[in-house]
């Protein structure tokens, strides 16, 4: 109950009142209540919102059902089996809500809400004579199947159930409206009870709010049922179909800014907000489709408001990363990490605007321009891959916005010039990692080595650095092969490598695709030492490569083996902090070193922002300049991947501590001492 303030309560109470009224008359009150709840309580779990919603509507529905039952001869023969089937299926539906991941549920709710609203407005005129038919065995089956289906729907979601039921009884059993409404109420009570029977014991409801809303809902339904009974079937039909004068004066819920004008905007779903309200004003008697559009738009807008992030904040951080496309396996952990970053730095609120560049340079540049021009960001983090980061340099330099790249190539920050003045990066340079491998090779008497890498910027970057350093150290490179990320076979390349009888093989790939050459080599009987790059450092690689990767060496950021670092190493604590946070959010073993680059970028920011804040206000060129200067002055900052010591010439600032050699042993990463 904490966190629900009184204006919110008032708004929800009014929504519940109105929903109760609608529910009693035609059903579909949930179409008002659910968006209202989602809007007012953005942080609650969907299940909690549904639970609260159900609780508040069950009393209203029962009240209506009771009033109907007293006045209308209830057709129990059909209603009862439907109610029983609906009850059991509804319970299952409620279970499904809890069991589904919320990330999946939200889009689903949006879609279903729109669909239910569209349905509510699409219905056409249908019969008014009570002519009960279908009383045989088949109708019994219909009652079971359809009642069950609607029951599941109500347990799972809810809005529109009332009208679906009315429709069911009219269509399949030949009831007139009054009887159909009455029967529908009874079944609806059953479904609501079933859902509550699941939600309440599992703690998925807010008792105080639910009680308040229930009271209002009952009040509304009392009004509705009263009017329906007094004016008979005709009134119900009118509420259903007539687009004429609004029967009720406009009620404006201040908090929700809902324009509750019935009649013109629609029959039961007068939910609209913001600019959409003008579409729904009573004087605009728009046609049927227009109404659907208007109300759907209203719903979308409402939902948009409901799901929108808080927009008032001070420091804006733009993030562009490759969450889709070929580099997705690198970009996704980064995106996940951004979600964990602190939302305040030095008491200032921080906003992260995350954009996906689909591993495409044009999009990365477009995103950068957008972040600078539209979002007025103070700093840009990204992108995931080298070409994208290189392409962004011109844009950020022009705008005077500092940028922290999460791509590996040294070309991003070297040679230092007027443009790279604004550019920093957090991942270790390829050269640094390559040196580690070459050192390890020399120590293990490797004389000849074969290289096989991605046919993209990653494989190319590694080849350039590695071949340079290997040459200096007198290691002979006997093969230079390429393969594509999505290749199904690397037999040709592997055979060529085998023919060279190289002492060792270095595979320059990232993520699971790097496992393919290794598995092929093993399969063809290769016995030499195998090296991978830090690009493979995630759990999926071990999963796919399995036993074929035993004994493989790779250089990596210390975060990969944080727990194995000696306690004296200051990086251990910083790295473990990140690992802990990440795994708490995304599950055990989900951490990858790439996400830590984003984490380190935020560490750099947290270090530089307080000083910059003293000099200027966020959102100003002065602040960006101060932030840049602050970043350049980073000294002895311990982060997950190493210790930063920046200088005007070195915008990375990592030393030897930023990399360790790791060996795959027993299906996990082992630090090589």
């Amino acid at each position: 109950m904490a966190g629900v303030d009184s204006p919110t309560m008032a708004g929800l109470a009014i929504a519940a009142l109105f929903a109760g009224f609608i529910d009693a008359v035609v059903g579909g009150g949930g179409l008002i209540q659910i968006p209202a709840l989602f809007n007012a309580l953005p942080r609650e779990l969907p299940a909690t919102i549904f639970g609260t919603n159900k609780f508040s509507s069950v009393l209203g529905t029962s009240n209506a059902a009771w009033r109907y039952a007293r006045r209308v001869q209830m057709p129990w023969r059909t209603t009862l089996p439907a109610a029983v089937a609906a009850f059991s299926c509804s319970y299952v539906g409620a279970m499904a809500v809890v069991w589904l991941p919320p990330a999946m549920l939200r889009p689903l709710i949006l879609v279903m809400l729109i669909a239910a609203a569209a349905y509510t407005f699409w219905r056409r005129d249908f019969g008014a004579i009570h002519r009960p038919q279908h009383q045989g065995r088949r109708e019994f089956a219909y009652a079971l199947i359809l009642g069950g289906a609607i029951g599941f729907y109500d347990g799972f979601f809810g809005p529109g159930t009332g009208s679906f039921l009315i429709f069911l009884f009219v269509r399949f059993f030949g009831f007139d409206f009054l009887h159909a409404s009455a029967a529908a109420k009874v079944v609806n009570v059953a479904t609501n009870l079933a859902a509550l029977a699941f939600f309440i014991p599992h703690g998925h409801f807010l008792p105080m709010l639910a009680l308040l809303m229930a009271t209002c809902n009952v009040l509304g339904s009392f009004l509705g049922a009263h009017l329906a009974l007094r004016h008979g079937s005709g009134f119900v039909r009118k509420t259903f179909f007539v687009r004429g004068e609004p029967l009720y004066p406009q009620i404006r819920a201040r908090y929700l800014r809902l324009d509750l004008s019935r009649g013109s905007c629609g029959r039961t779903m007068p939910v609209c907000c913001g600019p959409v309200c003008s579409l729904c004003a009573p004087e605009n008697r728009v046609g049927g489709t227009m109404k659907i559009k208007a109300s759907t738009a209203g719903l979308v807008a409402l939902l948009a408001a409901a799901f929108a992030a808080n927009v008032q904040a001070d420091i804006n951080v733009g993030v562009t990363l490759s969450a889709t496309g070929p580099a997705a396996s690198l970009g996704i952990p980064e995106k996940n990490t951004v979600a964990l970053l602190p939302t305040t730095i030095a008491g200032q609120k921080v906003n992260y605007i995350v954009l996906d560049d689909a591993s495409d340079t044009t999009t990365a540049v477009k995103n950068t321009r957008k972040l600078i021009a539209e979002n007025k960001v103070d700093v840009i983090i990204g992108s995931t891959i080298t070409p994208n980061s290189l392409a962004m340099i011109d844009v950020v330099a022009e705008a005077g916005t500092p940028m922290i790249a999460m791509a590996a190539s040294a070309r991003i920050i070297e040679p230092m010039d007027a443009k790279r003045y604004w550019v920093f990066k957090t991942p270790q340079n390829d050269a640094q990692m390559a040196t580690a491998i070459v050192e390890h090779m020399t120590n293990n008497n490797v004389r000849t080595v074969a290289y096989i890498g991605f046919a993209d910027a990653y494989g190319e970057g590694w080849w350039n650095e590695f071949s340079k350093i290997a040459e200096v150290r007198k290691i002979q490179i006997v093969a230079n092969e390429r393969f594509n990320r999505a290749d199904t076979s690397v037999t040709g390349q592997v055979l060529k490598i085998l023919a060279t009888k190289a002492d060792a093989v270095l595979i320059g790939g990232a993520g699971t695709p790097a496992a393919l050459p290794q598995k092929s080599l093993k399969e063809k009987g290769y016995k030499g030492i195998m090296y991978q790059t830090h690009g493979v450092a995630n759990a999926d690689f071990l999963r796919v490569c399995a036993k074929d990767c035993e004994g493989t060496f790779l250089p990596a950021g210390p975060v990969l083996v944080a727990a194995q670092l000696p306690d004296a190493n200051p990086i251990k604590k910083a790295a473990l902090e990140y690992v802990g946070k990440y795994e708490a959010a995304y599950g055990k073993g989900s951490v990858s070193t790439f996400g830590a680059h984003a984490w380190d970028a935020s560490k750099l920011l947290a270090n530089a922002v307080p000083e910059a804040l003293k000099k200027a206000q966020p959102g100003t060129p002065e602040f960006r300049q101060a932030l840049r200067d602050g970043l350049e002055k980073t000294r002895n900052l311990t982060a997950a991947h190493g210790v930063f010591n920046m200088s005007p010439q070195d915008h990375l600032g990592f030393d030897q501590r930023a990399r360790v050699m790791v060996k795959v042993e027993g299906g996990s990463w082992k630090l090589v001492q």
Binding site: T488, S489, G492, T512
Partner: protein, 344 residues
């Protein structure tokens, strides 16, 4: 390059080529029957393999959700149509077929821990999850524009492909998966070690091709498809419904795709976006067959596989350049030898 290497490369090329051949057959079939150039064919390969991998990992595959969502959508569309025509009797059947069956499958998957099932059952389940997507996609994306031009159908294919790639990433993540081999057997032929699984791919492909041959030659549905492929209007006049033929060809295409994916996932890693390139190469094979001849399409696909294998040995960085450049003269030759009758 000695003989052994040449043989190994040949074997590799033929194995990959066999998969391309299967896809090529599916593409030829779909095109002949519906005039759709089915770019998303490759996605079935990825979905098939990744669904199986999820099942083996004991996770609920994302394809279940796709199946449920598409089933519900179809039920809504069909249901609305039935309501409009006042065919109320059909509604329960529509519901049962499009929502009930997927729900049942989903329920079964939730109830049973899929990781512990025998491999063949898992394969069967994976096929059960992926294959219905074929006709569903046809129903939702293609049937409403079945009469449009080949270009429009092609662009619809592109849109479907884009959507499926996005869904694949959402369901299966960016990282790839492998499935365990069906067989651990390996043979030594001369100096060459032959993996049982590779052989299995070949044998299964050949068997599938033969099965398809019998399907087309001996069964009424196969004949209906062939009739539709030859003359759409004529077939319709003979009572063969165009949409039924479309559904059927998409079902076959989806089965072939998913099956191919399941076949190769033990010998390579499959990613959510692997399908496109595999499909593209099958497509090249199909075009070499003029999108009309099944045996030539299969031969073309094997040719692509071999080209790929040998060029990856000689100049791996330029593999795609070589494969796709060499395809052009082949295309030219095919184009000149195929009598192209202008459409009236």
């Amino acid at each position: 390059m000695d003989l052994q290497i040449a043989l190994l490369l040949g074997q590799d090329g033929v194995t990959n080529g066999a998969i391309y051949a299967l896809l090529a057959l599916a593409l030829v079939l779909v095109f002949a029957v519906t005039r759709v150039i089915f770019i998303p064919q490759g996605e079935f390969v990825a979905f098939g393999a990744l669904t199986l991998a999820s099942l083996q990992a004991g996770r609920l595959p994302g394809t279940v959700w796709l199946l449920l969502a598409m089933g519900t959508l179809i039920a809504l569309i069909e249901g609305a149509a039935a309501l409009r025509k006042r065919h109320f009797r059909r509604i329960p059947l529509i519901l049962l077929l499009n929502c009930g069956a997927p729900l049942l499958l989903a329920g079964a998957l939730v109830a049973v821990s899929s990781a512990s099932l025998p491999l063949l059952v898992q394969v069967f389940l994976a096929l059960l999850l992926v294959v219905p997507l074929g006709p569903m996609i046809y129903r939702l994306a293609y049937q409403p524009v079945a009469e449009a031009s080949v270009l429009v159908l092609l662009i619809v294919s592109v849109a479907v492909h884009v959507t499926l790639i996005g869904i694949g990433l959402l369901f299966f993540g960016a990282e790839g998966s492998r499935t365990p081999s069906f067989t651990e057997v390996s043979f030594e032929v001369g100096d060459v070690l032959l993996q049982g699984q590779t052989l299995l791919v070949l044998v299964a492909s050949v068997l599938l091709i033969i099965a398809l041959y019998f399907f087309f030659e001996r069964t009424i549905y196969g004949k209906a498809l062939r009739a539709t492929a030859m003359n759409r209007t004529g077939a319709r006049l003979m009572g063969i419904s165009g949409s039924l033929a479309g559904m059927l060809s998409f079902t076959l295409a989806a089965s072939i795709g998913a099956f191919s994916g399941i076949l190769i996932s033990p010998i390579t890693t499959i990613y959510y976006d692997s399908g496109f390139l595999i499909g593209l190469k099958g497509f090249v094979g199909a075009i070499i067959g003029g999108l009309a001849s099944y045996p030539v399409a299969a031969a073309g696909a094997i040719l692509v596989g071999l080209l790929e294998s040998y060029s990856s040995f000689w100049a791996s960085a330029f593999k795609e350049v070589i494969v796709f450049t060499l395809i052009i003269p082949v295309l030219l030759w095919r184009s000149l030898t195929t009598r192209h009758v202008e459409e009236e």
